[in-house]
Amino acid sequence: MSLVLAATNESALIDLRAVAKTYETDTGPVHALARVDLKIKRGEFVSLLGPSGCGKTTLMSLIAGLATPSEGEVRIDDMSIRSPYTNLGIVFQNAELLDWRTAIQNIMLQIEIRGLDVKTYLPIARKLLAQVGLKEFENKYPDELSGGMKQRVALCRALIHDPEILLMDEPFGALDAMTRDQMNADLQRIWMQSKKTAILVTHSIDEAVFMSDRVIVMSARPASVVEDLQIDLPRPRSLDVRDTPEFNEYTAHLRARFKALGVFSND
């Protein structure tokens, strides 16, 4: 058993070793991350849950190499990350689509910047759009798309170059509950097809449990990992899984955890 564990540990794709981050600001240092140790395996779907402002986005930008840790080390594929790690796709809370580019042109930005062959990837972009149900919208500008559609386009853009890692920072936070459910179902389907290593930052306990193999709970700032919860629900999960006692056990447990952290102090 311990042998197996050691083996899985070694195959961790993303390895955060005692990572701490302090921002130096005009008003003094802000300790965002206290000390985070975290290993994420190849192909795993991991959610980061934590109170607002605790450092989830910071953690994500450290993994992407968009920021450098003040202490400790981020390793991906056994390489220390000191500059932007580009074998990944990112989806932000606001889709960050460029206003002057159509849906498909926004997706192809990824290809243009990387200097990949546009002709090869154009059909792939179309296929991705069809997969998220936006076949008819490839020539629409962002302001002709709904919030959910924009996030789908952003997801396509994050996937088109077939990266190893998919990072999502509250991608569905601004969507209404129904669109969000649909997006969760779609994302699960796409993730199961592509088998990417996925990290999802979310504020929704239900979303975290529904989507993930593992839910990481972070404390308030300066953040550290306070719980690492394995979610053993069979896949593919239908949205109905949220009505099962097993699912509710997980969410109840996490809710209690947050209460203990003082996040839901007013109820």
């Binding site: 796709g89 960050e96 930005l109």
Partner: protein
């Protein structure tokens, strides 16, 4: 399928509506303009206002057309001054704003100079220009350049800093170079702002060229204006003004056409809203 048809129908009907309202919106100012010209003509005739005080529009238009050879020659001279001054302001203003965006110390160094150059009454400089540059095209271009530079730099500066940090993060995660980020994201994001700056700069440029011609030139519509007034030829003064209005309008139109060409997507609409405030 039905959805696309629906959106197509919607978009065409939306276009029809805007076209209709545009056509109607175009008629109103034309009518009011026509009415005021007629009123002007009526008043001048009814009270028999002397021509050297206020000539009737009919004789102004007559002169504006009959003397077109003389006026065109000077209009071309003025146009060159406007064009060259504007192009210089563009060619120097955009890179200047760009370096100011990327280097805080350069920004701090250039900003005060720019403001001094702006608040300085440039009309007062015109007599100096005669001393320094003599008569002719050069002082006109310098004046036009000086007046057009400020709005271009200020608006480009504002535009280049409107980019969202997340957009830049996204680009970095794609492995983009600074140059790629600038070219693909920062500059296009700034374009609507840049174009509002260019529009203001263009109207300023016309003023700049005329002011220079008032003082330090022997050609151009500004010179025609001064010369005609000295001869109490008020009809010619007004005819020159009409040519100036048309000239300024054409230059402005050119910038707006360029904007339509270069600014796509929703930022186009946004910039049109901004432009509507002018």
């Amino acid at each position: 399928m039905t959805e696309t048809v629906m959106t197509q129908i919607q978009s065409t009907s939306a276009k029809a509506v805007t076209k209709k309202s545009k056509g109607f919106g175009f008629l109103v100012p034309v009518c009011s303009l026509l009415a005021s010209v007629l009123l002007w003509e009526g008043i001048v005739r009814f009270f028999s206002v002397p021509v050297y005080i206020l000539p009737p529009p009919s004789s102004i238009f007559h002169t504006a057309i009959a003397q077109h050879q003389y006026l065109l020659k000077h209009a071309i001279s003025t146009s060159w001054a406007i064009f060259l001054g504007f192009v210089w302001a563009f060619a120097i203003g955009i890179p200047l704003a760009t370096v100011m965006t990327f280097s805080a110390s350069l920004r701090r160094a250039i900003y005060p100079l720019l403001i001094v150059a702006q608040v300085l009454p440039k009309v007062a400089l015109a007599p100096l220009f005669i001393v320094w540059f003599g008569f002719g095209m050069f002082p006109k271009v310098v004046m036009t350049f000086l007046i057009a530079l400020f709005p271009i730099v200020i608006d480009t500066l504002a535009g280049l800093s409107t980019v969202r940090p997340e957009s830049l993060m996204l680009l970095r995660s794609m492995g983009a170079t600074r140059w790629q980020s600038f070219w693909k994201v920062r500059l296009p994001t700034a374009l609507p702002h840049i174009f509002s700056g260019l529009k203001i700069a263009m109207t300023f440029a016309v003023v700049g060229a005329i002011v220079a011609e008032f003082v330090a030139s022997d050609s151009g519509l500004g010179y025609v204006l001064v010369d005609a007034r000295a001869n109490l030829d008020m009809v010619m003064v007004f005819a020159a003004i009409i040519w100036l209005i048309v000239l300024g309008f054409l230059f402005f139109l050119a910038v707006e056409l360029a904007e339509r060409l270069f600014v796509k997507g929703s930022s186009h609409r946004r910039s049109q809203e901004l432009g509507a405030g002018l």
